[in-house]
Every structure is written in C-alpha cells, then in structure tokens.
Amino acid sequence: MFSVLKERVGEILLPGDEFCCGPQDTLPLTDSGKAGRLVAGPGLRRSGDRLLVSRSGVLRHKEPNKFWIESQQRRYVPAKGETVIGIVTTKSGDVFKVDIGGSELASLSFLAFEGATKRNRPNVQVGDLLLAQLVVANKDMEPELVCIDGSGRANGMGVLGTGGLLIKVSLGLVRRLLAPRSDLRADLEQLFPCELTVGMNGRVWVRAGAVQQTLVLANLLQSCDAMTAAQRQQLFRRLQQGAF
C-alpha cells in the first residue's frame, strides 16, 4: 500500500477512493521483514485493512510515512491545540463566550489570561478580538479556549490591538501562511511593513502603516486564495510597480 500511495502523491483524489492491501504488497523475502507504519492524516481514514479517502483534494506526503489530503475549505471545525481568532460575544459571570466560526460558541474563563487573578480581571470587552488556543475541542462538548500556554505565559495570545482589519479567508490559505518556509509570507515581506495575526479558523487580522495599505493587504490576501504561485507573483510585481 505504501508504494501505491507514494505513486499517487500529488494527484487529485475524491471521496470514495480507496487503497487496499493487494497481493503486490507482500514483503519480498530478501527484506529484513520490518513492519512498516503509515500515518494517515486529515482526509484519510482507515477501515479494516483499507484506507479510504474522505475528502476531495490533493494527496501529499511527508517523509517518512505521513500521508494526508490537502483540500480547500472555508468552514472551520474546531480541533484541539489550534490557535484561533475569536470575537467575544457575551460576558457572563466568570466566563466569556467567544465566536470562533464553528458550530458552537467557545467558552473562555477569565482566569485563563496571563497575570489574571480573582481580583485582577482582564480588560476584555464584548466585541474584542482575541487570539486564543483551543484546549477542548471535540464533537461532544462545547469548545474551550485559553489565552495562556502551559507555563502560564501569554506568548502572543490575548486581546488584539486596534487599528487593524479582520478578514475571512479559506483554511488552505491560512495553512500556507503559517507553513515554516512559506513563500507567500516571503512575498508579502517584500511589499511593505505590516502586522499579521493568523488564526487557524480562517480569520486573519492585518494592520499596516496606513488605512490604504491595510486595505490593499486585505484585498491581496483574499485574492491570493485562488491563485497559483506564478499568478500571485505577477500580481505582487504589478503592485510594486503601481503608484503607491
């Protein structure tokens, strides 16, 4: 199965495609006979001895044994450990209710901020933007957020500043922005100094020096969503030449 999967890396797969352990997957006698492990990422699901595709997209592979399906999606499904941008909707007692774009409002305790105690409450109003991390996110329970990491430090999380604009993009673009060596980010750096806060729920907060630049950036990101690298570079080049 490993070899079959490897062949199809980079191909577009549809839900319903499957990979079975066929007769060609028997180990050759000359090999040392070590059992291989295959990690099935998002979009791939194991059912008995078959591997089923449950999402449409491109098959990707990372050494040594990780496979997943990369798809375009705009609807966010909360997953544990992800950092998201949320909007505070209500403040009730000790808990904030935050909208993160999922099916339910997430709850955030007021003690989950750096340096917050029962007497020292955080300064969060209804309608504020927050960057927070999901600690509980599954289909049976209401999602829960915190604004501190394991050691009690904020680490960039918390209330976002003023003067920026929030835009909604697809999840694929967000992942591309957050990738370790992202050429989208490198291209953006060439343009003009700006501040970007990226939430895994498809929300991006942008701020640049002037209102005009912020608007340009916001529109750029939204159009980059559906472009290939070449088109994007062409667009950026046109921008740089255009009167600023």
């Binding site: 309608g127 929030l166 939204q222 290939t228 255009g242």
Partner: protein, 434 residues
Amino acid sequence: MKDTPLSNCERDFILKAIEEKKRLDGRQTYDYRKIKITFGTDYGCCFVDLGQTRVMAQVSCELVVPKESRPNEGIMFFNLELSPMASPAFEQGRQSELSVKLNRQLERCLRNSKCIDTESLCVVSGEKVWQIRVDVRTLNNDGNLMDAASVAAIGALCHFRRPDVSIQGEEVTVYSPEERDPIPLSIYHMPISVSFAFFQQGTFLLVDPSEREERVMDGLLMIAMNKHREICSIQSSGGIMLLKEQVMRCSKIASVKVSEITELINKALLNDKTARKAGGRCGFAESMPQERITALKTDQTEVEMSDVSETASGIVRTAKSPPQTVPSPLVPVPGVGQVGEGLRNTWGLEEEEEEEDDGGESSGGDSVEEVTKMHVEQHQQDKSRAVDVVEILDSDEEEEEVVILYPETTTKPKTTGSSSGQKGAGTSRKQKKK
C-alpha cells in the same frame, strides 16, 4: 443560526476608512457594484447580481375575481422572501423586521407609483381580472438587498408575457402559449430604488452599501425614481437627521444612477429578445458564471491599487454559445488543473432523463426541465431526446445533480452512439427542483 458578530476592531476600521473616503472593496463614494441582469427560460424570471448580492424575481398570473371597490382593475401582489440561503441570520418562515421593511418598500415602489396599467389587466369587469404576482427571493446577501430586489422585480415584470384572452359575447377564451403568442404587460415607467447609507450622523454618505458597511451605518435613505426624474418613493430609516441639501443631493445622484440602471435593464431585455428570436440558448443556465476553485480570475476582490472602474453600464452578460466539448481535460495555464469540468461526459455512458417519460415529447415540454440543468445538448434527431452531460459541480453551484446507479436499465433503449461501460448498468438522473 446567528450571524458572525461584528468586532469593535472592524467597526472602528471601517468608520476610519470611510472618513478617509476609502471603501473596503476599492469603490468610490458614488459607485455601484457590478450589476448583472439575466433572464430565465420562462417569461417573467429575472436574476440580478449586485456584486455578490443575488436576487431572483418570478412573475406569474392567474384569473381571479376583482376587488369590490375596483371592479375593472387587475390586482398586483408582491412578496419578498429572505431565504436562509442568503445569510445565516435569516430564518425560514419568520417575518423579521427587515423582511417587513423590504416588503413594504417594494410595494410602495411598484404599486403606489402605478407603473403597471392595471386597467389593461381587466378581462370581464366585475368578474374576471388578471392577478399578477411578483415573488422576489433573496439568494445571497452581501448588502443592499432593496436595490437588487427592485431591479429584479421591474426586470421580471418587463420580461413577463401573459396569456392572450378573447371575449365573444359571454364566452371568455384564454389561449395557451402554443395557440397564440402571449402578450407583455403594459408598463408605463420603471421605478428603481437607490440606497444611500449615512455614517457619523449624516456627515458621510455611501451609495450601494455592502454588508459590512450596512452593519456600521447610522441610517439608510432609499429613493425610488424612474428615468424621467420622477420620484416614486423616499424612505429614511435609522433616525438620523438629514438636511434638505443632503436629500436634494441624493436625489440628483439617484437620477444619474437610475438612468444608467434603466439603460442596463433595457439592454438585457433586448439581448434576451434577440437570443430567443434567433432560437439560441437563453435562460439562466447559460449565463451562470462558472465559479470554479481553479478560476483564474475572481471578479469580486480586486486589489485597490489597480484600476477598478465599476460603472453600472456596460456589464451585461449576453447569452453564451455552448462551450466546445473537449476530449481531454483542458489545462488553461501550467500549474492549474481542472476537476471534473470536462464539458462532455467521457465515461462512455449516455444518460437519460428520469422525467422524460410519456413517450417522445416535443421540445416545448422539455424546456421546463431544461431550466434546471447546467448544460443540455440537443441532438438534432426526430426523437428530440436530450442527452445530459455529467458535471461534477462545486458546492458553489445552486443545483446539484445526483446520479443514481440502477442495477438494470429502466425504461427505454439508449440513444444512438452509446457504449455502456458496465454491463447492464443504467444511469438515471434525478433533478433537484428549485
């Protein structure tokens, strides 16, 4: 379901941008978004796209007993529905405040302005008159539903044809469309509504607010006018104080916009008429934009710095000729692939319509079903059987086609040229009705 709340950050930013005379999508203060008007296969069906806001209007008629106070006038009935398709904030069945407001404004704009000659709708005075019913349904809400709805309603009314009627003594004969050509309604003028959004207590104004701008606005002024510069209705909501000069300025702007939009509607009607006469394809299926994930260009988000000139005139999409069928997938640009957009079914299976039973029907009967299909190719043969093309559609499309595999073929033998890839398996298509 509730809509995503607006954060303080966004609100402040939008207001600040408006103070600097900048809009989120790069328009100028008095610019409209791109307007696209298309008509369906049936008479009286009109789709209007105002940017991303999408609205559909359908006109229908029936013979009823007239009102007692007006025995020789026809009846006009307007209904605007906010579909949950348009926004998560709209709920099905519940009359929200916005829905009541839009309904009332549409009625005032069209009924009170007497744009339709109701006396011509009378058949037998006191007994039978035509009741014309306009149903407007919002399909996507990106702001300014009222303008889109008014353009759609008046476009549909201009496009509509009612059955011909003849009276001989006591006998009233209503002719079907096959017997005698249906006749259009007599419309005096075309009232169109233009919306102005006010910010900072009336200091700043914007024409054609988008959804985010609508959320932060202080008040809204709707002026309905026709191209002869007659004001049909004015409504101001939000409780802001407007000065006389402001209202006068708005009405001047509105008259300019209305003449442009009227021009656009007339052009669209003309295009539709020539397309129908030429026997070509018409109907909304032909004019739907192909919105694919791998599209090279998205109309909506253009970078501000590039030349974004959005004028209402000159953006009418004519009926396209059917695209060429390709035997292999098209790669428009290296690096871009297409998923399932092959325009011809290359799997070797010929599909039949499930509803096309009762023997070979005339193409007139098929036309109703064809409205709901994406691409239909008509074979030039006696049987007048239509062959469907399998399309794997994106979720953006408004209709889905479900292909159901049956263990054996159903009713009729397949049409010529079919090569069944699987033994004994027939496919039939179930169409989802709108």
